[in-house]
Symmetry: D2
């Protein structure tokens, strides 16, 4: 573990005394953070860490991007609004204009934007509520290992039993279907959904929505194939359901394109964005709605923090700086390949390990949550912060900022490789070849 100084210790006490036992990341990364820049964070004792967690995907452009910071300081000094409910503001106007011109028009998308409460879960709730309103149906199809948030409506769609057990009550309105690949290589799980939709006594109620992630971040970096996505989109259409893509983690460039579904030729009815949409890690979420589905009455889904003006300011910079041309997407693609290659090397040193994921949303399934935890713990000691994911936490997951310079990316992956090799050796398992999945 890290050695902490006296100041550090005193600050730890306040957390132990006053913060709820629900806190979790801080148990694995037991430092007290102070400052951050790009892909590096620094704790109160001055120790630096490479941050390949990136706010669980909220910091795709790294920490404290200088242009966003400058814009935010300027906004503050100008006396710009900090909070304005869903009132119109110059900051919102600028954001919408950038969003339209840089993201929607170039892709031929005609979405309306709803600023929901500033969390992914809230935007998922809004999406399901709207899909139910549009269709007059209550059932939503979600998938094994899906993760969509913690509030009750979103939790109904989330697969994680650890989280589902809390409310002590059934979470109705969601039917669970196997995600792509869940039944192994020989089985196309879309066949099961297709059959159940057509079969009037399958027990599958007519769906209001089909809700999915194209890459399941928390679920273990499971990647949906293009063919499966296309079939699901078609099943949504033919069954009168809205296709809802939860792009909270896989969106905002994480897989190489701004929207994770761009390469597959599908245009979801609703798209949920959050995490990196503000660019600066500020709370913000939005729901994209095809115009024909924008049947909300004024205020029907409301909330106090629908318009985080500071987030509009930084988000506008993020869009303008990174998405005005294809340069950044190219960088991400290149770094994604680098990541895949290096992770194959890591998988090589862990028997039975495989590489999973897409773009810069990749990791190594080391086959055991305990092993993955040991590896990430070792990485943290060596100055690298990494998460795990998957049903058993068995996937070491790299969510480095998309802006991480190649050498820094390599530095981090060196640490991971060493940690994987050492921990594997210590745990007495011998090497085997890793395979790149997806």
């Amino acid at each position: 573990m890290t050695v902490r100084g006296a100041a550090d210790q005193k600050e730890i006490l306040i957390f132990e005394r006053r913060e709820s036992g629900v806190r979790s990341y801080c148990r694995r990364f037991d430092c007290v953070l102070d400052t951050a820049e790009g892909s590096v964070v620094r704790d109160v004792s001055g120790r630096e860490y490479l941050d390949f967690v990136a706010g669980a995907g909220s910091l795709n452009y790294g920490h404290n991007d200088p242009d966003m910071r400058a814009a935010l300081i300027a906004h503050l000094e100008h006396g710009g609004m900090s909070h304005s409910l869903d009132l119109s503001s110059t900051a919102k106007s600028a954001f919408l204009t950038a969003f339209e011109s840089l993201l929607l028009l170039p892709r031929g998308f005609d979405y309306r934007v709803q600023f929901t409460g500033p969390t992914g879960a809230n935007a998922v709730e809004a999406a399901l509520k709207l899909a139910r309103k549009v269709t007059g149906r209550s059932n939503v199809i979600a998938f094994t290992n899906g993760f969509h948030g913690m509030s009750q409506g979103a939790l109904a769609a989330t697969g994680n039993r650890h989280h589902r057990i809390g409310p002590q009550m059934p979470l109705p309105g969601v039917t669970r279907m196997p995600y792509d690949g869940y039944q192994g290589e020989g089985v196309d799980t879309a066949d099961l959904l297709a059959r159940m939709l057509c079969d009037p006594s399958s027990g599958l109620d007519a769906p209001a929505a089909i809700l999915l992630e194209t890459v399941q971040g928390e679920g273990g970096l499971n990647v949906a194939s293009p063919g499966w996505l296309a079939r699901i989109a078609e099943l949504a259409r033919s069954s009168g359901a809205l296709l809802v893509v939860d792009d909270v983690q896989a969106g905002c460039g994480r897989t190489g394109t701004f929207f994770s579904f761009e390469p597959f030729g599908i245009v979801p009815d609703l798209v949920v964005l959050s995490k990196s949409i503000s660019g600066y890690g500020l709370p913000m979420a939005l729901l994209l709605i095809r115009p024909e589905h924008d049947v909300w009455l004024p205020g029907e889904h409301n909330g106090t923090f629908r318009g985080n003006v500071h987030a509009f300011v930084t988000a506008t910079v993020a869009l303008t700086k990174f998405w005005a041309d294809s340069g950044f997407a190219g960088d991400v693609a290149r770094r994604g390949e680098l990541l895949a290659r290096r992770l194959a090397g890591v998988a090589n040193v862990v028997p039975g390990a495989t590489v999973k994921g897409r773009g810069m949303m990749r990791g190594v399934d080391v086959g055991s949550g305990a092993l993955a935890a040991s590896i990430t713990r070792r990485c943290f000691v060596e100055g690298l912060m990494l998460e795990t994911s998957g049903p058993h936490g068995e996937v070491v997951k790299v969510l480095a900022p998309l802006t991480t310079p190649d050498d820094m990316l390599n530095d981090g992956l060196d640490i991971l490789l060493d940690a994987a090799r050492d921990v594997t050796a210590e745990s007495g398992v011998s090497g085997a070849s890793g395979l790149v999945n997806a």
Copy 2:
């Protein structure tokens, strides 16, 4: 209506083209805001308005408090974290230390703090989930005209039919009971709850929680009496339910004390705070938990934006600046009385109108939503922003920043008085005396 310049018009277009029809405040206040300071906001054409909406209660200390702003700029320039999941940080440490020393210890409260997703709804969801986990029961008692948010679990507790109709499905797990005064003067509604709790065939399932606001902000500024609150607290205790106070709107000093329930000698099991807790209008919410109920497993209720570091920075300044001694509370109390007096004058010019509310959370029930809307529309034209609330929008509601100077408060109330008089006169009803309720 306001006369808008060309720039204004162009910006309006982007909202109409790209923003969802769900937007609401901006329909009543059709300006494009740019800057703000204290109790005044300024639109893109330079027009100023007194802001007695205050972010629906999120700006109790007014807009852009100079000390908070300075601290936030310093944090930005220092390279402080902007996003840190639920990791420990110096900013969080400072906030918790101030929260403990300035709020908890002086009041003899021993709460643990959970940083939930940064919306009141999310904190309400966490509260209900935790209460259900603690008790092993699923039923929650909520009250007529209660408002607790839009996500599915919170919406189940919210009374508003306009909002409840969206999900197209029952919202289970909540039993509705009449709030204090709901059945008129002669009936103590706590009697009904008491009887139903004791009666094993009442149909009221054993409750996990009793959830209430001490003043119902959205519900029409209904004020619970001290006696009723004490009985409800006792019924919660005797029935094994957790008492949950939703202090999202009534808390943070709005009624005169930091917590709205302080004057009544009750100590809720769980307290929900949001809106003005950051001090600066930034998204933040927290749940206070009596230590014996803090049975969360790590990460059991999680979310990406649990630690809005910028909000910690401004919140710490807010607590230090306004709550280190009793001066501010005294100011609020005095202004609350001023407000009550002036609103009695307003009620005087509207036949049948009554003053409702407590502290600086007051308004005038003018008996009709149409009349209230006309009055607030007139106020807006005259440079004053005001909301309505209540089941039919019949209450003109004043939520001025608590820091509004007395003369500015009077200026605003002058506008309101004129508007009320003029609109009433135009609509052809003649004057009657207004009575101060509660």
Copy 3:
């Protein structure tokens, strides 16, 4: 307790060995019944009991009515159908013809008849399902102390916590409101319902149905007043809800008229009948539907035992024998008065006791479940079977067959009077005057 012979003992063993612990009546009445006639049952040892339980109201015409028995034996000897799904049969035709000519036409009622599964619960489920289909709404209003059956949909409307706790899950879709008199003398509980229906933020979702018993049998013989019933009927109409009267226990003449609501000038949209509708204690239930609400698709609510042909045979005799003229109703009215007088005498010997109920559905609230149990236990020893009801089992309930001769009724009530006096004396409480409620 009763002294049982050897044969009895051997038979008791099979029940203890093989029957589930869920059995209940047989614990209080620990005899093994063999034969029965009219209001008398006889156990295997030859001991006779006056049966003032009457199959919990299923034997309004007593046991083994000779005319019904003769008709059933004739049917059996003729080779008549015993089971015919929902196929048309001569027996069903005869029943429907009698039902129409003897019950519907004389009262000016134009109901359609649905033969549901042969239990009251199943007919209640059908009623709620149909009301939800007709209105497109899911919420049903039911009342404190209501009892509507044990299957999940019916249980949601039943108030009894003992029963509600089994399913380990919320029972959604029902809002509970206080029954007439539940809030004491000064409060008209219909006011609360009226207000909540009109108040768009009351939290009361628009109702599909208002479901009620005019006298709550299991709930403690609570009697709805004519004025309250009329208001509820009007509230159902004005809110677009169907009025559903559960006449399972109070119907079939129990309160003096065939339908319990006849005296009040209301015509429910749906009426649930079961228990005594077959006349002979055979399983049968039906739902009466105003023609405009009969929107069922064929088979939409089905079930194997919808057509209990033997029950059609006996039911037809019951209608013809007892309801062709007003003689029987007159007898019931007279006996109901006799019962009220005699029960007032019983109440006189139990301090604080009151008489409750209507027609031949009456009892004495002795104020304590323990006292009521002692009294009925003593009665059983003396040869009288009696149930208790009410939230705490505090009401000694007389459900004698409507055909019980006056002298036999007096004999039973003599036993009850003695038991009440003796048990009260033994438990050391002194006499006070009983009051007739309702």
Copy 4:
């Protein structure tokens, strides 16, 4: 269609005038039945039909078995109880004694018997409620094409969309999984269940029960394989769920053994019986409970018609007459083979048709509901009553009484063969070979 006489016509009128539109069988079989004996029913005009519907499986021993009839008449003449709630009675004692000695002991089963409301749906509700109580969990796993009844709790487990749509609300607490064979030959659907049970983020909540039919009667005569059943039983055990077999249609000898699961070496935790358990078509249902799960409190699941005494009388005769030795089971096995052979012949004349089912619960999947309806309509004209089943009604289903003499069985199957051939010829499709499934 049938030609009906004048009397017939008049009787039809009462049904059209007074019976709800929900009636269904009588639409397909538009006669008015009067008498019945064995496998033959007779309508009011004297016309006879072979009844291969047998009360949807409620008349496994045919109509009006002379021994049961004699016993019932004797009971009536003796003055035996007709209704006795859940009181002990000589008739119940006799039934339980026969049930224990003839069914339980010979098979080494140690079940407790719960007499639920007299419908299969009510017994299913009791089973699910009990499983939830035993496990403290709410989720129940049910299968595609399963049919378990119409009351809300049972309907949640039923797959049929036509029925599920009625309540206008989600039917929570049930997770649907694919039945054996649902995903085609190459896929063992138990693998999916196994994986989802083990995967903590599959979204499958820990189950209280796994509910299944070994042959899905309404679902289209789908037969579970021994291996699949054994795996499901093991998955129930290992996941802490109760295995509940709904033997309402497949039990009581229909597949050749009294319980449909006997050949497979599994002993369910709970078994639901109804339909033919009374032997005479009288309403009766029961739940068998392994003693360790009999945690009911007295009266926790109650109901008025739990003890249909007449049904006890006939059921006791049925058990004694047919199940005292293995002769009857041998007859059923032999007739089942005969049926399979003859249905293969039927399948031979319908292109693409296949034989489905097990024992005397078999039918022919003719590939289209319209075709199946035409065939059964033709059969009815020729004097044979037959149902269809399956998601699209595509399976012509033979549920002849198990006691049908071989020549009568052949007569009926001759009619079916002719009808299938003629209808197929008329609809212009040419013959192909039928295959026997399962």
